[in-house]
């Protein structure tokens, strides 16, 4: 009883324990999203969204917790051991039909010497302790034909000694079907992905903040870079900005690849000492209030592009600019990809690196665009660009070191330029445009000293 009294006292409080001035998702937006999902469902549907699990590192030490993105999207609840239930028909709680119910671990609300208790959301019709979940589910599932539910990740486990594979989702389906014959189980992605892909103004503001923080870090890294530094020193400068400006963490492992490492697409060892004449690819993104930026800049470690580096860099920049010009509502993702590849082929032929257009794929072996949002590779179910989508555009060129047919000035160079693009009526807006990417601007910025050049001794 005492616990529940505390719950209701907290219901009106702010959703997140944010610092004053920090951007937040308004509670009204969560309510609106839940309503949109409920409107898409039939009265014989029920949806359950579970908190992500805690990943244990050792003993009583866990890895940093990251909430399931669907849970964040629908109610902003940031803690483990919770379930969100959405019922168009309503579940009877205290004589009233509740459509959105959050079941939470009531023990987590007890403040201890070790953990601060979570704040509760005011976005659900009601919040109930988890020990009431079983009874509520039995009641809620009566007459339900379709249950939308996805297990928290990972759904697949491989036991290393025997090599046996366990597909948890398959087991769950079996168990639920045994218990509720005739029940169809569908992934929550079905109704949620299309909603998540179109960003509201509030989400754009959060993404812009994540972008601005990332850009601040990259700007300092560009100023700091010099031969003799280690890749991880640039990473430290960038991630310092994340913490300095209130971003929780990187949205993905920072990629700082210099010299030959620039050719490794998901390189994140970041432990090479950079040399004069290297290019360094910095592919990074801060996560702010759940939303992740994704920006890549490539710079010459010495502060000045060599002739070969500049020619390749200008080619990538041209690919990006000409592709940006076609990105608008109604254009398919395939058309975006094809435009980049068309310009890529043209530029590589101009530089004498290829003779036929189809040879270009060798030097651009990856896709050039994906959605961003609550995940750096956000949900994606629409094949055509629509107003409100935010996607990356990230062409690159990767020239191997060991091909004598390639002019020496181009060999062993990896370049990628990535910006984040908000699709708006009639066109797009590059929300990362505040960060330099022209050759002359990069060289000018690199003449300055940055945070990474400050003396610091062990």
């Amino acid at each position: 009883m005492k616990k529940h009294f505390r719950v209701y006292l907290l219901l009106g409080s702010s959703l997140f324990a944010a610092e004053p001035g920090a951007l937040q998702t308004p509670d009204t937006l969560y309510t609106q999203r839940c309503r949109q999902v409920l409107q898409q469902m039939d009265s014989t549907d029920l949806m359950l969204v579970a908190s992500a699990g805690v990943k244990n590192r050792c003993g009583d030490v866990d890895y940093p917790y990251r909430q399931d993105s669907n849970m964040l999207y629908l109610c902003g609840w940031r803690h483990p051991s919770a379930l969100l239930m959405l019922s168009p028909r309503g579940v009877n709680v205290g004589g009233k039909a509740m459509h959105t119910i959050c079941f939470y671990n009531s023990k987590a609300l007890e403040s201890t010497a070790y953990h601060r208790p979570p704040r509760l959301a005011a976005v659900c019709d009601t919040m109930l302790a988890l020990d009431r979940f079983d009874a509520s589910l039995s009641q809620a599932l009566s007459g339900i034909r379709t249950l939308y539910y996805s297990l928290p990740k990972p759904v697949f486990v491989q036991e290393p000694v025997t090599g046996k594979h366990f597909f948890l989702d398959r087991e769950l389906r079996k168990a639920l079907r045994n218990q509720y014959p005739g029940l169809t189980i569908k992934p929550v992605a079905e109704p949620l992905n299309r909603l998540r892909q179109i960003k509201s103004d509030a989400e754009i503001r959060l993404l812009q903040k994540a972008v601005d923080i990332t850009a601040a870090g990259l700007r300092e890294a560009i100023k700091s870079a010099e031969p003799g530094m280690y890749e991880y020193e640039l990473q430290a400068v960038i991630e310092y900005a994340y913490q300095r400006f209130g971003a929780a963490s990187p949205g993905f492992p920072s990629i700082i690849g210099s010299g030959p490492n620039a050719l490794i697409l998901h390189y994140d060892d970041n432990d090479r000492r950079m040399q004069a004449g290297d290019m360094v690819v910095m592919d990074v993104g801060a996560e702010y209030n759940g939303y992740s930026a994704d920006i890549t800049r490539t710079i010459p470690v010495s502060g000045v592009f060599t002739e070969g580096q500049r020619e390749l860099y200008e080619a990538v920049l041209t690919m990006q600019k000409e592709t940006l010009a076609v990105m608008k509502p109604g254009v398919s993702r395939r058309a975006v990809e094809e435009k980049t590849r068309e310009v890529c082929s043209r530029e590589l032929m101009r530089l004498g690196l290829i003779k036929k257009a189809e040879e270009a794929k060798r030097f651009l072996p990856h896709g050039v665009s994906h959605d961003i949002g609550l995940e750096v590779h956000d949900v994606s179910s629409r094949e055509v660009l629509e107003v409100g989508m935010v996607v990356t555009l990230e062409p690159g060129l990767y020239i191997p070191a060991d091909d004598p047919a390639i002019p020496a000035k181009y060999r062993s160079i990896g370049i990628r330029i990535e910006d984040d693009v908000w699709i708006v009526e009639g066109g797009n807006r590059v929300i990362t445009s505040g960060l330099v990417k022209e050759v002359k601007d990069i060289e000018k910025l690199m003449k300055q000293k940055g945070l990474g050049n400050q003396p610091l001794s062990l």
């Binding site: 996805s150 759904v155 597909f167 398959r170 389906r173 992605a189 998901h266 592919d283 990856h366 590779h377």
Partner: protein, 79 residues
């Protein structure tokens, strides 16, 4: 961050859907396949859709496991 090329392949959902079948038949291929998919976050990305896809077509897949293994091998370039 580049989205892994595995997701650019023609039909990753199908390949993931085949995983349980390959596993049930104790084929050594599945281990390297799954490891590569995991490192590419493929399983996390498409598991929901794959589960549905698998459920809808499992009878069809079960009739010709060898062809399915060949498909996975071809699609993902596993030797």
């Amino acid at each position: 961050m580049i989205r892994s090329q595995y997701l650019r392949r023609p039909d990753p959902t199908l390949a993931i859907a085949l995983c349980p079948i390959v596993a049930e038949n104790n084929h050594g291929l599945v281990r390297s396949f799954v490891q590569r998919c995991e490192s590419a976050s493929l399983i996390q990305e498409v598991d929901d859709e794959a589960a549905m896809f698998y459920e809808n077509r499992k009878n069809q897949f079960l009739t010709d496991t060898r062809a399915n293994v060949a498909y996975v091998r071809k699609t993902f370039g596993l030797g």
